[in-house]
């Protein structure tokens, strides 16, 4: 049987049922254990799609994937959600734990104002309806890192509902166009984080650190509006940028401040949705798209081979590059939700409903928070496109790297060069050097002022663009020297003496009569040879376009 071509609604992509399909023909679905098939699996769901000329033949099934996301973002606050102990990533074990966090009897939760504000701001930024009245509940389950035996969350009536997250994906052959997509935000709720469990395999025991227990989390539930790993990754990225712009969360996946679970199912377009699986432990930005695509492919394989998808929880194994079943579930988990008896309803106000004569510390005004919202990434990008005439994808690139936008704006401030030139230099040359040496913008040896000065020299035509690149390289290598100094040292200034250039051109023409004949015969490449000769004669200190002009004039072309 020929390799069936499976098409799922990723912008303009065709996915070929290659590697993993081969594996599943021998068994059922998931390649467990065998590293080689795992690796093959990884490569066939890599970001570069295998584009084939095949079109889906009649009778072959098309598949659509549906991806929903549950995101937990740690709130950037000084203290925890319901207690006054500190929030910190790295601290001696159990040193940031209060009696309440350790769930000692007689302790009660006291809500942190900052966490409520963070939730409201995030809800406003995602165009949600803010519930003026929201409730806290207990979600019961037993686990060593949950000392109380329950988590305080907002199951019945969360703080914000019905919003949307607008994000963009790259489409097109060269992936250079940006298409806007929207994922619905089902709800945002406040909840407690659990402690951390560390496995001491030496002594076969589990060690518990409660520093993280009780830290405030924002759970953002995205509707299943995404259809592949790339879209999910793009949505997550945009959410990260929004949270960082708002200051409500640092949203750093590597430090566990942003955790993602995906709900994935596949179906044939036009038919009802399939059974979904939940994939947990997607805590790396790099592997997020891969893991989701792997699971989609796995489900397609399974169904194509006549199998069934179980409604189960799976985990992504980074080493094997595949999802593996996580829990042995005998029926669904029963969390026995109940209202949190120690917390009254959370009431929020707007300017109209704000009660008079109350302590401002004790009331939260949604309108006031809305006015104080910082600029969202989407708006920043639009402004960049408007102000500097750059392409949308450039604005994305500028916001995608920490500190890059600020760097760009500082260069713009100090240089007279055109914004388009600055954009090109920052995104191509500067960013290129950074990436090559794996540096952050803050670690750059080149300051905005230095680049601004360099661009000024270029703008004034004091140096050629190839000379400018040389100067940049030197700037990168040797700290402290200014562009002007480097230009002087390396004698890279453009010849300002027009008469001298005319002389040089004339003498070159005289010295190479054969080439001149070629040019006059109409050979288009011959002139480049002449330009090259003149350039060498000027020791690279003349602009090729100017040389061409002079030569053409002298040859009366």
């Amino acid at each position: 049987m020929a390799t069936p071509v499976l098409r799922w609604c990723c912008p303009g992509r065709r996915w070929v049922f290659a590697g993993i399909g081969g594996v599943s023909r021998h068994g059922r679905g998931v390649p467990t254990g065998s590293t080689s098939s795992g690796k093959r699996g990884q490569s066939s769901v890599a970001q570069q799609p295998l584009i084939t000329a095949q079109k889906p033949r009649k009778g072959e099934r098309e598949w659509a994937a549906v991806v929903g996301l549950e995101i937990h973002a740690q709130i950037a606050s000084n203290s925890k959600l319901f207690s006054g102990s500190q929030v910190d990533f790295a601290a001696p074990p159990n040193s940031l734990v209060s009696f309440f966090d350790a769930s000692l009897p007689g302790t009660l939760p006291v809500l942190n104002r900052r966490c409520v504000e963070a939730a409201v701001m995030t809800g406003l930024a995602l165009d949600c309806h803010i519930n003026r009245r929201s409730l806290f509940d207990r979600k019961h389950y037993f686990y060593a890192d949950l000392p109380a035996g329950y988590q305080i969350t907002q199951q019945r009536l969360p703080i914000a509902v019905n919003g949307s997250l607008v994000y963009s994906v790259c489409v097109g052959k060269r992936r250079s166009q940006m298409v806007t997509k929207t994922a619905g935000v089902k709800q945002i709720q406040l909840e407690q984080d659990s402690g951390k469990s560390l496995h001491d395999s030496l002594r076969s025991q589990t060690l518990i650190d409660l520093n993280r227990a009780g830290v405030g989390l924002l759970e953002v539930v995205l509707e299943p509006d995404m259809s592949c790993g790339e879209e999910a990754a793009a949505a997550i990225r945009e959410l990260q940028l929004i949270l960082q712009a708002l200051g409500t969360s640092q949203a750093n996946m590597a430090e566990g401040q942003l955790r993602v679970d995906a709900n994935i199912s596949v179906h044939n377009p036009g038919e009802p949705l399939g059974v979904r699986t939940e994939v947990k432990n997607l805590n790396s930005a790099r592997f997020l798209a891969k893991a989701i695509d792997y699971e989609i492919q796995r489900q397609i394989n399974e169904l194509e081979n006549g199998g069934k998808i179980l409604n189960e929880t799976r985990s992504f194994d980074y080493k094997l590059g595949c999802t593996v079943p996580m829990r042995d579930k005998e029926g669904k988990q029963d969390y026995r939700f109940m209202p949190e008896p120690n917390l009254p309803p959370l009431l929020l106000y707007d300017s109209e409903s704000l009660p008079t004569g109350t302590d401002p510390q004790q009331v939260i005004n949604i309108d006031q928070l809305r006015e104080q919202l910082p600029e969202l990434p989407r708006v920043t990008r639009e402004k960049l496109v408007q102000q500097y005439g750059m392409l949308p994808e450039h604005s994305f690139a500028l916001l995608n790297e920490v500190g890059l936008l600020e760097f760009f704006q500082n260069v713009i401030k100090e240089t007279r060069a055109e914004p388009k030139k600055v954009t090109s230099w920052v995104l191509n040359t500067f960013l290129g050097f950074l990436k090559q040496q794996n540096l952050a913008v803050s670690e750059s040896p080149v300051t905005p002022s230095a680049l601004a000065e360099l661009l000024d020299l270029l703008d004034r035509k004091a140096i050629s663009s190839s000379a400018a690149k040389q100067v940049f390289q030197e700037l990168w290598r040797s700290k402290g020297k200014t562009p002007a100094q480097i230009v002087a040292e390396k004698k890279l200034e453009l010849m300002q003496d027009a008469e001298a250039l005319e002389q040089l051109c004339r003498s070159t023409l005289e010295a190479h009569p054969q080439v001149v004949t070629d040019v006059k015969k109409g050979n288009p490449r011959a002139i480049n040879k002449l330009i090259g000769l003149v350039r060498r004669a000027t020791l690279g200190r003349a602009d090729p376009t100017v040389i061409k002009e002079v030569l053409e004039r002298q040859l009366s072309l």
Partner: protein, 138 residues
């Protein structure tokens, strides 16, 4: 015969509905199935070791059932006796913590400032039938 959802329905708070009206079945069977006992033992870490315990559970359910005598159609449930109270908002300052030594004293078994969890605590298997008494012995 009632299904176990009726009993659990009393606990869950899903808006204003409260299980089924009792008029049709005033003295219905209070038998609690073995399946339900297993489920409860797993969820609540209790040990229904004897028939006496099960009987006590059935009596407790019967007692709570008397609530059904009240017609609550159209009545908004009270979810919290605190519903008229103000929820106090605390300023985001660090005022607690730094008492690791004190907290660790509460635990029998510690290793270098970490609490030690009972064995099997982080594997799914432990969720199956680990009774209260067994837990205490560890």
């Amino acid at each position: 015969m009632w299904t176990r959802r009726v009993w659990l329905g009393l606990r869950a708070s899903a808006g204003g509905r409260r299980g089924f009206p009792s008029k049709a079945d005033p003295q219905g069977s209070r038998r609690v199935t073995a399946e339900l006992i297993e489920h409860l033992e797993r969820l609540a870490l209790v040990d229904f070791g004897s028939q006496e315990a099960v009987a006590r559970l059935e009596k407790a359910i019967a007692f709570a059932d008397r609530l059904r005598a009240v017609d609550t159609d159209g009545v908004e449930p009270m979810e919290s006796v605190l519903e008229d109270r103000c929820l106090y908002l605390r300023s985001d300052n660090v005022v607690e913590g730094n008492c690791a030594e004190e907290l660790l004293q509460n635990s029998h078994h510690v290793v270098e400032e970490y609490f030690v969890a009972p064995p099997g605590m982080c594997c799914p298997k432990w969720l199956n039938r680990l009774s209260h008494s067994k837990l205490r012995m560890q």
